[in-house]
Structures are given as C-alpha cells and as structure tokens.
C-alpha cells in the first residue's frame, strides 16, 4: 500500500491505479465528509418511520406515575448511537411523570452510564433519586437476572448501584417484582433485547419497546411484526426521529447531516469501485484479444 505512488509511474493504467488508491486518501475523504457537516450543518428534517412513531406513542400513552423499567443494556463502544436514545427516552418519561427504574445487564460500563444519564436528565426535570428514579446497577448472568426479578427484585438486587439497600429506597418499596412494572423501555446494542422479549415479554406479558443500534435493527423488525415489541428506534437515525417527536433536538439530530454526506460518499465509493472494476476487466479482455 505504501508503495502505490512509486508503482503509478511504472506503467499502470488509470483504472489499475484507481483500484489500488491509497487507503489514506479514502480515510481523509471520510474524515472530511464528517467534519464539514458538523461545522456547517444543514438541519434537514429526518423522515419518521412507523416503528419510531409507534415507540413514541407507546411511551406517550402511559398514565402518569407508571413505573417504567429502563435497561441501559449497551456498551460504551456504541454511546454515540445509544446515548441519544436513552437521553430522549428519559426526557420523555420524566416529562410524562413516569417513574424510572434503571438497570444494566452490561457489566462493562452499563451501570455507570445509567447513573450519569439518570442523574443528568433527572436534574433537568427536578426529579429526586429514590423517589422518581433509581439505578439498580449491574448483576451478572442476564438470563437469571431477568427471570429472578419476576419473583422478587430484592433477591437479585439487595442494594442499588450506590450500595443503598433496596428496602430503604421509597420507589423500590413499591416495586417488589414485575407485577408493579407497567412498561419496559430497552436501550440496547446487543442480544439483550432478544432476552427481554423471549423471557420477560413471553413469560410475564410486559409490554416493551426497544431502541437499538442500527446493526441490531433489521433483526428487531421481526419482533415488531410479531407484536412482541411495540415500537423500535434504529440507530442514530431512530434517535434523531425520537428527538424530533419529543420536540427536543439534540446530538442525534445534529449528526444526521454528517450521516447523509458520508452515505453519499460510500455510495460514490461503491459506484466508482465497480465502474473501475468493470473498465479494468474490459481493458484486460481487450488486451487478451490483441
């Protein structure tokens, strides 16, 4: 790769050179296509998919005071996609005066991210820890956690993330198990949504929606069609749609211009790569005939 420039003068055709362009040129173009729209945004509106609207409607229709289980089941690696969803979800819940029970089945950072987001969005709406929201934190072995909470949450979580015993937290005294939970709002970047659906929705009939990374979204549409999930947010775009629906534009909406430009760039890469490939093949077959 590093010797490409030297090879250019050694008799390679234009199409051959195009096929072996230095990766760093591609990388620079990618960087530029992300930086430019962030510096000079266009603020184009994002079309809302039916699944995102269903997600919004499901949360919006919950009666004030309902207890929402809010799993922060994502790794720090996908924060740019998942954090805007979680933030918008919390804003929607707190605005509707829903009580939020946060937890995480992702050991690596999940409970710490939950703590940060719950506190920052909670204070935005003047909510009190332990009364309006709580962070149960992390416990290992997700399938056992999900099933165990169905019988008694305190058996699995004797204390919250900060180490306060559950029986001394006012909110948790009213939520002994899933019977007191009205709804589940999952934000996830891994197979945890499958477990929530197949263990908790199937066994306890709890209604749920999920905000997932774009990679996970195609699979989740099966659960939408089977009504196991009531709504779905897919990736940063889903988060931007949700921000639009709750009328609070934030990081995801601001990122969508860059998303547009870089998609165009990648499509241009695909077209150029294929065009070059076919031209090179034609050139080689012509050489063969001569």
């Amino acid at each position: 790769m590093h010797g490409t420039a030297a090879m250019d003068v050694s008799g390679k055709s234009f199409w051959e050179r195009l096929q072996s362009v230095d990766r760093r040129i591609l990388y620079t173009l990618i960087f530029a296509s992300v930086i430019i729209p962030i510096l000079w945004p266009l603020h184009l509106p994002t079309p809302v998919t039916p699944e995102s609207r269903a997600f919004f409607n499901a949360v919006d229709s919950l009666p004030s005071g309902s207890v929402v289980l809010f799993p922060f089941d994502f790794w720090p690696s996908t924060l740019p996609e998942t954090e805007p969803m979680a933030v918008a979800g919390l804003r929607h819940c707190f605005r509707k005066n829903l009580r939020v029970v946060g937890l995480s089945n992702v050991g690596m950072g999940g409970p710490s991210i939950a703590d940060r987001l719950l506190d920052s969005i909670g204070s935005e709406f003047h909510k009190t820890y332990g009364v309006d929201y709580v962070n149960l934190g992390y416990k290992a072995n997700y399938s056992a956690v999900l099933l165990g909470m169905g019988s008694k949450i305190a058996d699995i979580y004797p204390a919250d993330h900060r180490g306060t015993r559950l029986d001394s937290i006012p909110l948790m005294r009213q939520v002994p198990n899933y019977d007191s939970v009205k709804f589940v709002l999952i934000v996830s970047d891994n197979a945890m949504t499958d477990y929530w659906v197949a263990l908790v929705n199937a066994r306890y009939g709890l209604p749920m929606v999920a905000g997932v990374t774009a990679i996970m979204a195609p699979k989740m549409l099966s659960y939408i069609q089977s009504h196991q999930l009531l709504g779905l947010l897919g990736g940063m775009k889903g988060a931007a749609e949700y921000e639009q629906l709750i009328d609070h534009s934030d990081k995801a909406s601001r990122g969508m211009d860059a998303q547009s430009l870089i998609h165009f760039l990648i499509i241009a890469f695909i077209i150029l790569g294929n065009f070059g490939f076919f031209m090179l093949r034609r050139e080689q077959s012509q050489k063969g005939q001569n």
């Binding site: 362009v21 990766r23 591609l26 990388y27 990618i30 184009l44 509106p45 994002t46 079309p47 998919t49 039916p50 790794w75 720090p76 690696s77 996908t78 924060l79 740019p80 690596m108 950072g109 409970p111 710490s112 991210i113 703590d115 940060r116 416990k139 290992a140 072995n141 056992a144 956690v145 165990g148 019988s151 058996d155 699995i156 900060r162 180490g163 066994r203 195609p218 699979k219 549409l221 099966s222 939408i224 069609q225 775009k237 969508m256 211009d257 998303q259 547009s260 430009l261 870089i262 998609h263 165009f264 760039l265 990648i266 499509i267 890469f269 695909i270 150029l272 790569g273 294929n274 490939f277």
Partner: protein, 206 residues
C-alpha cells in the same frame, strides 16, 4: 467423579429451570428462584476471574522482562488504580472509579469502534463488487437502504424512504425471521444436549 459430578450438577440445575417453567408457584419454583440468585453470584465470580487473568498475564510479562514490559506495567498500574479505587471508594457517581470510566475508558472504547467506519468504507470501495446477479441484488438493496435512511434521501426521490421501509419490513424481515427461527431451534437443541450430558466440551479436557 471429575466429570460425572459436573454433568450431574448441569443436569439437575438445567432440569430445575425447565420444571420451574411448568410449575409456577410450586416448591420447584421457589427452589429455582434461589438457584437464579446463586447463578448471578457465581456468574459474577467468573467475570472477576477474567479480570484477574488479564493482570496475571501482564504481571508475567513484567516479571520475565518481556520487550513490551513497559506497556504491561502501564496496564497493571491502570488495573490497580481503577480496581483499587472501586474497592476502596466505591463505584457511584463522583468517585475516581466513575471519573476514570467516564473521562478515559468510555471515550476510548467508542473511538476504537468508530475506527471501523474507515474500514467499512474502504471495503465498500475495494471489495463490494457486482460480480454476479446475487451480488448485484445485494448491492442495489444496500444502496437503496442507505439512501432511504438519510434525511437527504427524500430530496433525491420522495419515494426512497418508503422503498427502504418496504425492503426492511418485507424481504429483510422475512429472512431475519427465518434465521431467528433456525437459530432458536439450534440453541434449544444445544441446551438439551448440555442438560442431558451429551455436550461436555465446556468441561474442558482431562
């Protein structure tokens, strides 16, 4: 004894979970609830084992004066500072543990994964070729979805978002469901093999 006892433990604990599903509110259910709590505790220790194993590997590198020993030493210092502060001062908001996570570790992990954007774009340029009818179908579907899922897509052609919706909710959803059903059947049969002691590879050798 060395392999029969673990197989028996796996059989009893697996069968207990299955029976509990059919016997809600019974003694079996109560026993399985206790077993679920125990599972979360034992599972936690296995994560601890992973953390300790990483530290052991790098301690050996430092002790044997491996050429990367300075990097390993750096890893060990980070391990001790992070783990030690978590044990001594707790893990809640405002602790050193939390600050190190929020300020250093989480952004690093995000950045590591963001690098994949460059690789996938480079792969789109170099390897994504319409060499056959199948790959041409794949390519067209990818382009339509990529255009239909961005705000600018609707300005190119107003129908693009609904085309992308259709691809996602009909052919793509159908395939995902096929894979889901097949994988679920596979996982169920593997679970049964473990419970019945046919599958023992998790026990390792010896």
């Amino acid at each position: 004894m060395k392999s029969r006892l673990p197989v028996l433990v796996a059989f009893i604990s697996g069968a207990l979970m299955i029976l509990a599903f059919f016997g809600r509110g019974t003694v079996v259910d109560a026993v399985s609830d206790r077993a679920l709590t125990w599972q979360t505790i034992v599972g936690g220790f296995s994560l601890l084992l992973g953390a300790v194993s990483i530290a052991r590997v790098h301690w050996k590198k430092v002790a044997t004066k491996h050429e990367d020993r300075l990097y390993s030493l750096c890893l060990l210092i980070c391990f001790i500072v992070m783990g030690g502060s978590g044990v001594i001062n707790g893990i809640g908001s405002g602790t050193l543990f939390d600050t190190l996570f929020q300020r250093i570790q989480a952004p690093m992990m995000s950045t590591m994964f963001s690098v994949l954007a460059f690789f996938i774009a480079s792969a789109a340029y170099r390897a994504f070729r319409a060499r056959s009818v199948s790959s041409a179908i794949l390519l067209v579907a990818a382009v339509l979805v990529m255009l239909g899922r961005i705000p600018m897509g609707q300005y190119i052609y107003h129908g693009l978002p609904s085309w992308a919706d259709w691809i996602m909710t009909v052919p793509s959803m159908a395939v995902q469901r096929g894979i889901l059903i097949g994988a679920a059947l596979g996982a169920a049969s593997m679970s049964l093999r473990i419970i019945l002691g046919i599958e023992r590879t998790y026990l390792g050798r010896g």
